[in-house]
Amino acid sequence: MLAVEVWRGGASGRFQTFHVARSANQTVLDVVTNIQREQDATLAYRFACRVGMCGSCAMTVNGRPRWTCRTRVAAALGADATLRLEPLRNFPVVRDLAVDMRAFFEKWRAAKGQFEPGPELPDDFAVVAPASPQRQTADAGIECIGCGICYAACDVVAWEPDYLGPAALNRAWTLVNDVRDRGNAARLDAVSAGSGCHLCHTHMSCTTFCPKGLAPTYAIAGLKRTTLARALGKPR
């Protein structure tokens, strides 16, 4: 049997211990689902795809932010063979293992993380060469699915609650490198404001924990370079 300590409650609460039978190739999400279906139907958690596509099952597993569907119990267990599950750090807790992601996505909006086509539609489809440097740079960060792992891993978010965070800044950087986009003046203003990219300490926790293998740290470094060049009078 596997001992599982699960956070119960909101911002204040306590750990409740459950015991779950081990099975081959068992994932942490399997364990949480087993608890909810077999032992305590009131346990709140979130999941959808179960195959690492949606990112909704992210939790803190033995102190580390992870997708529970892509984390095998065997890989997550510590020396004491106990599983400790908590909600993601840096998010308000709704209940148990479910967090409120509104502020996270509001920051994507604040960082102008949406495509801006400009006032006039182009005559034809834009041709963007796959090998062009800007396309390659955008491609490096485009696979983000907004799971919040990087945001939970970031110490600067913990210290500066207004900090836009790695995911929103990574998204902004992909758009800065999108040659079709016409919103970069406002976007670069947004990401270089008081709570923007210059607060990053380059701890690289976002890059370490990103389940997609993306490197928001490098995206943020790109924003720092670009906003500096702009402040010195070299608009992109």
Partner: protein, 109 residues
């Protein structure tokens, strides 16, 4: 932090890397040569190169330290806003005034 403050902190750090190295080398040389305070002041008196080095050093400190302290205070305390910026601008001026006072003192001593 604005891009200008970010750049100012990086540039002043680059200046400090050079200035601190020169400062430490000077201290080590003076100590190993067994120089007294009077010996040191005799060498700094009217020495334009030393004067310029320390003016640049003090200016870099006055830029670098308050920006770094502002970040630390913002991250570790709830202090934000205009009062923080005013306090740290005052701190920068104090550092500049005290540093320049000392630099002038050893130049004219």
């Amino acid at each position: 932090m604005s891009p200008v403050l970010f750049l100012a902190q990086r540039l002043s750090a680059a200046v400090l890397a050079f200035a601190v190295t020169a400062h430490l080398a000077t201290i080590i040389y003076a100590a190993r040569a067994g120089m007294t305070a009077a010996d040191v002041l005799a060498r700094t008196h009217g020495n334009v190169a030393f004067f310029i080095l320390y003016v640049v050093f003090v200016a870099a400190v006055a830029v670098h330290a308050p920006i770094g302290l502002r970040n630390v205070l913002r991250e570790w305390t709830p202090w934000r806003g205009r009062s923080l910026d005013v306090a740290l601008a005052a701190f920068a001026l104090i550092l500049l005034a005290l540093g320049l006072r000392a630099t002038v003192a050893v130049f004219v001593a």
